[in-house]
């Protein structure tokens, strides 16, 4: 069977709606994990960019992506890409807002200081490089006295 453009689009929207196992309110597209869908002969390959290579949720994400495509009658292959490298900037603006409002999780900006997602203070004190998950650091906001988790940004190696 040949994959048409409309097949690809239908599968893409189903795969894009797959929820992240650790942030059940957010999709893998919003988190910037979904990179691309590629037609390979008579099947579709889904390219995903893991937030962290050792992420334990990768198997679960792969299963969920395959199941979402299967519901539409498509078997897809999943590939985790080593490049591009995932960075917090890949998280969509609306998802960044949900992370801040619902999860008290901040994204470190490319320049300037990270602000407390609760009270807006700029004086977060770092308490640990790594928090409950390897992709977040732990800070303390001395203003509103809450622990704040910040999605870690990483140096992107030169291409």
């Amino acid at each position: 069977m040949t994959i048409t453009q409309s097949d690809l689009e239908i599968v893409r929207s189903a795969v894009a709606a797959v929820k992240d196992p650790e942030y059940p309110d957010l999709t893998i597209e919003q988190l910037g994990i979904l990179e691309n869908l590629v037609v390979e002969g008579s099947s579709i390959r889904v390219d995903l960019v893991p937030t962290i290579l050792g992420c334990p949720a990768l198997n679960t994400i792969e299963q969920d992506v395959k199941a979402a495509a299967r519901r539409l009658g498509h078997e897809v292959a999943v590939r985790f890409c080593l490049s591009p490298v995932w960075t917090p900037e890949r998280i969509s603006d609306d998802a960044q807002q949900i992370l801040a409002d619902e999860y008290t999780i901040a994204i470190s900006p490319r320049s300037g200081r990270t602000r407390c997602p609760l009270c807006g203070a700029r004086s977060l004190e770092k308490r640990s490089d790594v928090g409950p998950t390897a992709c977040r650091s732990v800070y303390w906001c001395a203003e509103c006295r809450n622990p704040i988790e910040v999605v870690r940004s990483r140096e992107v190696p030169a291409q």
């Binding site: 196992p21 650790e22 942030y23 059940p24 050792g54 992420c55 334990p56 949720a57 198997n59 679960t60 619902e102 999860y103 008290t104 999780i105 609760l118 308490r127 640990s128 790594v130 928090g131 409950p132 998950t133 390897a134 732990v138 303390w140 509103c144 006295r145 809450n146 622990p147 988790e149």
Partner: protein, 306 residues
């Protein structure tokens, strides 16, 4: 900073769904109750993390090792966040909480006072115990009156949901496995069913201050019953039996009823007198001592930078 003129006024604020923040002038009795509750939760995450850690080298296969590693990180990370919020209540420092835990002066959840004998025990913990812990955390989160704790719970629940899914997946694998695997899983269910059901504790007392002050939002017996209604059919569907000879299904409403629970052994367990309590606490103490040089190195490098 908000202040309240009387306990009645404070309780009206809580009943109306008010959320207390650290800078508020909260009544000391409330501060103490919130502190004790969060300290127990933090201790339990910490002890749970150490149990999980024991399974990193023993987990079968790379993927299971990765999961065990990530779960260990989750639990210790949750403990860290909770200890930060508990210490901020200015009743004990984090160091004091750690020392109290390691000296056996404070407590942690019943489920971490038993020995994990086998890999299927570890699956039973992930499937039955994590689900019970998650159900009780969800009930606290729903209506929790202490802001910083509620915010941590939001993330803890999201992460524990992932653990539970993992436990369920491993349990189903065993359920569909060989007879030996199925039997092993059954043995582990026999060991862990009662501790999981007991995690919710005895029936809530009338006038329980945790409920009155909306630190908890649901009575223990309601949570326990909901858990039983969900897990009895799941286990039966997996071809397992429930280790409770008195278990019966009400012919009228179809609800599952478990035998009366004898709470006396649980009371002893919760006072650190459970079957594996002494070894667990000693193990935690060793882990703490072994990491002493890391803490000293961090402290002295912080001093150098300052």
């Amino acid at each position: 900073m908000r202040t309240w003129n009387s306990m009645e006024e404070f309780e009206e604020f809580l009943d109306a769904g008010g959320v207390v923040e650290p800078n508020d002038a909260m009544p000391e009795t409330y501060r103490n109750a919130v502190f004790r509750f969060i300290e127990l939760h933090a201790n339990s995450e910490y002890m749970g993390g150490l149990t999980e850690r024991d399974w990193i080298p023993k987990a079968p296969g790379m993927h299971r090792k990765l999961t065990a590693l990530a779960k260990t990180q989750d639990e210790i990370g949750h403990a860290h966040l909770l200890y930060m919020v508990a210490a901020d209540l200015q009743i004990k420092t984090r160091e004091e909480m750690m020392v109290d835990l390691l000296e056996g002066r404070t407590h942690f959840h019943n489920v971490f006072h038993y020995r994990v004998h086998s890999w299927t025990d570890q699956i039973a913990v992930a499937y039955l115990v994590d689900a019970a812990a998650l159900a009780s955390q969800q009930a606290v989160f729903k209506n929790c009156s202490y802001g910083p704790y509620k915010r941590i719970l939001r993330r803890v629940i999201a992460e524990e949901g992932f653990h539970m899914r993992n436990g369920e997946e491993m349990m189903l694998l065993m359920a569909r496995g060989t007879k030996t695997q199925h039997d092993m899983m059954q043995e582990s269910i026999n060991r862990w069913w009662l501790p999981a059901v007991q995690l919710f504790g005895p029936d809530s007392r009338p006038g329980d201050e945790l409920l009155k002050w909306h630190i908890k939002s649901e009575r223990n017996e309601i949570l326990r019953d909901r858990y039983v209604q969900k897990f009895v059919p799941q286990l039966l569907n997996g071809g397992f039996t429930i280790p409770d000879p008195g278990l019966r299904q009400d012919p009228d409403d179809g609800k599952w009823k478990i035998s009366e629970i004898d709470w006396e052994p649980l009371k002893k367990t919760m006072r650190n007198g459970g079957p594996d309590s002494a070894r667990r606490i000693a193990d935690a103490r060793t882990a703490w001592q072994n990491a002493d040089w890391v803490r000293r190195a961090l402290d002295s490098s912080a001093e150098l930078i300052a």
